[in-house]
Symmetry: C2
């Protein structure tokens, strides 16, 4: 079933990672995985541009079906492979609502993280606009307590919407891993999130897509003051 | 069925509008509609903060179920009221994939529009950073031809994924209406999108949520040069 699936992905991209977690959780580990180098601009290759005019990853193909928005890939995989692997979207309407809410809501973390990290990455430290950095740091610092509170409602060992791993976790865990990579002091500031991160990061689906280049490089300290 | 639904919304907010279009399309027009004033900061009222700690709209409640991310509201409504009103997400896997892809992809238009409009709205014209404006204008100008091309694949009179109105249209039409409100020369630059806009804007579900304050105010010319 997974033999007619191809995924183009980039190392360290949370959107790619969330799609890959869903692939693993749905038992589709045999798909064709094509790691592209951002440095060599392989995401702008003819092979990708032909099916994804944005020249971005993830670029996903299942037979003749192409889906390139990571949230859409996750939803598509869950709907298409409903009866195999982990159930990522519960049938119960109120539980489903909660999963959809938290799943979509993870985009807030990604946006706020991205605004700060990309700015620091692209701008020479001596040119940093401290007012801009203060604003963006505040936005991220106000985002994370929401998640800390969501998690604190459930018992130790739970996932972000309760006892089961869902689409919301597939999207949250790469976002958290990215924060840790950027040296956000998760453990000191957000103990529930830190404990969740420690627990979920070793899940096979999460490990299988762990960014290869993270294993032998230290990351940046862009978020140490959040 | 709609009597236990409440939606808090703001006039002119595309995320609110897309949720409202889905409510109408699913035959739920009898819901409790609470228009909040951004000017009076009613979106930060206790009533909303209690169920939506972000203090944002849309804030949606169906019985005890709360969903506040607009894309999640749309998906929830379609899944929960599957067999009534317009079918917004097709069952056929390849058609469903296309709808999910385009639905999520509309966020690109919103983000690129927002980056430009909010900057111009919040910054005095004499302080405008022309380099920043040029970058953001270019990003939006590169986004819209993708949609023009998507639409050109289908015959005259079609929707964004083919012959049926779907979630993707519910999300696209407010984004286009916002562009028009900001004086983007849609007709001159993107004839397929302009024709789509003219056709879909009069759909009852779209009209029912047309921002009230747009009816007697002219908008801004922030996008006239895109």
């Amino acid at each position: 079933m997974s033999s007619d699936i191809t995924l183009y992905w980039g190392s360290g991209s949370p959107p790619c990672w969330r799609a890959m977690i869903c692939l693993e959780e749905k038992g589709l580990s045999g798909y064709t995985s094509k790691l592209v180098s951002f440095e060599k601009k392989e995401h702008k290759s003819d092979e990708i541009m032909k099916i994804n005019p944005r020249g971005q990853v993830p670029t996903f193909k299942h037979g003749d079906v192409v889906v390139n928005e990571s949230m859409a890939i996750c939803l598509y995989l869950e709907n298409t492979f409903k009866n195999q692997g982990t159930k990522l979207l519960p049938d119960d309407p109120s539980q489903q609502a909660l999963v959809l809410q938290r799943f979509m809501e993870t985009q807030n973390i990604s946006e706020k993280t991205g605004a700060l990290v990309y700015y620091k990455f692209r701008t020479k430290a001596e040119d940093w606009d401290q007012g801009f950095i203060a604003d963006k740091t505040k936005a991220l610092a106000e985002e994370l307590p929401l998640w800390e509170k969501y998690l604190s409602q459930y018992g130790e060992g739970s996932f972000i919407t309760g006892k089961d791993f869902t689409l919301a976790d597939a999207s949250l865990i790469p976002a958290l891993a990215y924060l840790v990579r950027m040296k956000l002091p998760l453990k000191e500031r957000f103990p529930h999130l830190a404990s969740y991160y420690e627990r979920v990061k070793d899940r096979p689906s999460v490990q299988s897509a762990w960014p290869p280049h993270w294993k032998d490089s230290p990351g940046y300290d862009y978020l140490k003051d959040v």
